[in-house]
Symmetry: C2
Subunit: 347 residues, 2 copies
């Protein structure tokens, strides 16, 4: 059963990004300054939203070893093999949010305004820099660079990370240019990006060589499967992707997966079993089951986090398309967090 | 056996793009103005290049019905189910080239200069707009829009089409924005683009809805497999991709595949057998077998076109990295064209 429903969000403490460790440690979690983001509930006018389901869902996990989904984000933040993963898990634990906001707007000013409002609710901001309609009469420096700099400032202010959902899908030599260069210079500002495994291991190697040249932690998610109807991921494709992710060559770079349920996590051999921990992020999450007419399909936070063992819930249109995005984001945050807490207590 | 080696390129006639039919026709191919691009060989200083192999390679095709690879580009240009495909096949037939130049440079001025030199050799220019280092202090209109307009003018002048190798790989609603919008506005200037099938049919539907709003023909290639080591395409993945491509919903939009060998072409049933014709374009082609250290692998034009039934040979670094790109492009053009001619005579 869920714990009794709380009437508002739990206060969480501000984390200074600079204090987040970038190497694994067994030290106690440091205490951060006590400034809170907000103190009162913002969930009042939500009569149109369905209530959360009354019970937790059974964890859908066939692992014989202890899976990551039964461990706390806090404990994983001390042992995760990637610096970007440790930073993200610590933000999640301290801010009490496993919500990623998917920002699909195309107006840069609107995006910055929404991110400023929603920043306190999220651990991660997912962007599509290449759909934004930057003003054509300004310079790329003024428009794009200024925008990404402002995003980084908001990430610092509200303590979240930035995930450019680029879905790299080319050979190694090409993705290197796409990640580092062009007008977007993704590697310079996005903490996390993602890639399809279909081109083979060269794509990871190519991206990692760029990431290795960046001072701040950079993490990569691989797409193991997608949330869209008829997608060709999952199954054998996912198995091959997992095998690719497990290579020791990029142990400090591949931080997890975009997938519909927990991936790996139990270790694939004696040597690995203590270490393997992939952060799973899941799109296609709604407060009701449904779709968008272009193949996107939705599941609820309880299904995604509680039953299927995913870590981060990615929500876009469900929040930014709402009349009161902050209030709806809080519903998503609360339900996703409670689904996580329910999962942990069973572990 | 190959026919006796010619001492230079065959002259080909200039095609006015405006005269290329955009609907299927059984009329004779129209005659174009007789201006030739060049009259003498440019292949003199190529002692460092290996000679072409002395014999054709056996066609590697298990189709029971007559495959597209045994038909001429000219005959296919009259019946291909997509307007973009008909235009491309007619350019290939008239210009006597099945060479696509892959432009992987990042300097926009260098690109325009190379395309101006190499335009007469190619049927198609493959771009990566998102790796180009546009000057950060100019406006996006001045830099990007001006660049793509110049590319279109070169395409008109030298009669080739433009293929933005974007490798779309997201859900339908996202790729719509990526294809139409952002600072690159790909749909406005690229005749052809490509997509991975992994997100499922929604990606094709999303892109097609954008293409339907463009006046000029727009074609889509699906990635059935890749040329990089350890790629997850081919086999069952390719079969699913082919099944997706065959849907009648996007019969006038999906023009072919990026693949390593012929795909489909014999029809998948009685109703389809007269119509199916997928243009297959193949990267990873070199004059010698080899690789790039980031997983890319190379085959020769004779293997790709003559043996494996591919239509368009995509060459990048082999040409633009050469001391004399025009001369090397001519070697690729001639060898790829002769491999095609050898294939046709066996059909």
């Amino acid at each position: 059963m869920f714990v009794a429903r709380q009437t508002g969000p739990q206060p969480y403490k501000k984390i200074c990004s600079s204090t987040i460790p970038t190497t694994p440690t067994n030290q106690p979690t440091p205490q951060f300054p006590s400034k809170t983001f907000h103190k009162k509930s913002t969930t009042s006018p939500l009569l149109h939203l369905p209530p959360p389901p009354p019970t937790t869902l059974p964890l859908n996990n066939n692992q014989t070893k202890m899976p990551s989904s039964t461990k706390t984000y806090e404990s994983r933040s001390k042992t995760h093999p990637t610096a970007a993963g440790r930073k993200l898990l610590q933000i999640m634990a301290q801010k009490r949010t496993n919500l990623c906001l998917s920002m699909d707007h195309t107006d840069p000013e609107k995006i910055l305004s929404l991110v400023h409002q929603l920043g306190p609710k999220i651990c991660l901001l997912k962007t599509h820099i290449d759909i934004i309609a930057f003003p054509p009469t300004t310079t790329t420096t003024t428009s794009i660079k200024s925008f990404t700099t402002k995003l980084q400032a908001l990430a610092q202010q509200h303590t979240f990370m930035i995930f450019e959902d680029r879905k790299f899908a080319d050979i190694g030599s090409t993705v290197q240019h796409q990640y580092r260069g062009g007008v977007y210079e993704i590697a310079s500002w996005a903490d996390i990006t993602n890639a399809h495994a279909i081109p083979g291991p060269g794509i990871i190697q190519g991206l990692k060589e760029v990431a290795d040249g960046i001072e701040e932690p950079r993490g990569l998610l691989l797409l193991a499967e997608m949330s869209s109807r008829g997608n060709l991921g999952g199954g054998e494709y996912q198995e091959k992707t997992l095998a690719m992710a497990r290579s020791r060559e990029w142990r400090g770079f591949v931080m997890g997966f975009i997938a519909m349920k927990e991936v790996g996590g139990g270790g694939d051999g004696e040597e690995e079993e203590e270490e393997e921990d992939f952060i799973v992020m899941t799109p296609g999450v709604g407060l009701r089951v449904g779709g968008d007419g272009l193949g996107q399909q939705y599941r609820t936070p309880e299904e995604v986090v509680g039953r299927d063992g995913c870590d981060v819930v990615i929500v876009g249109r469900g929040i930014v398309g709402a009349d009161d995005p902050v209030a709806v984001a809080e519903v998503y945050r609360e339900r996703s967090w409670r689904a996580y807490e329910g999962r942990i207590t069973k572990g």
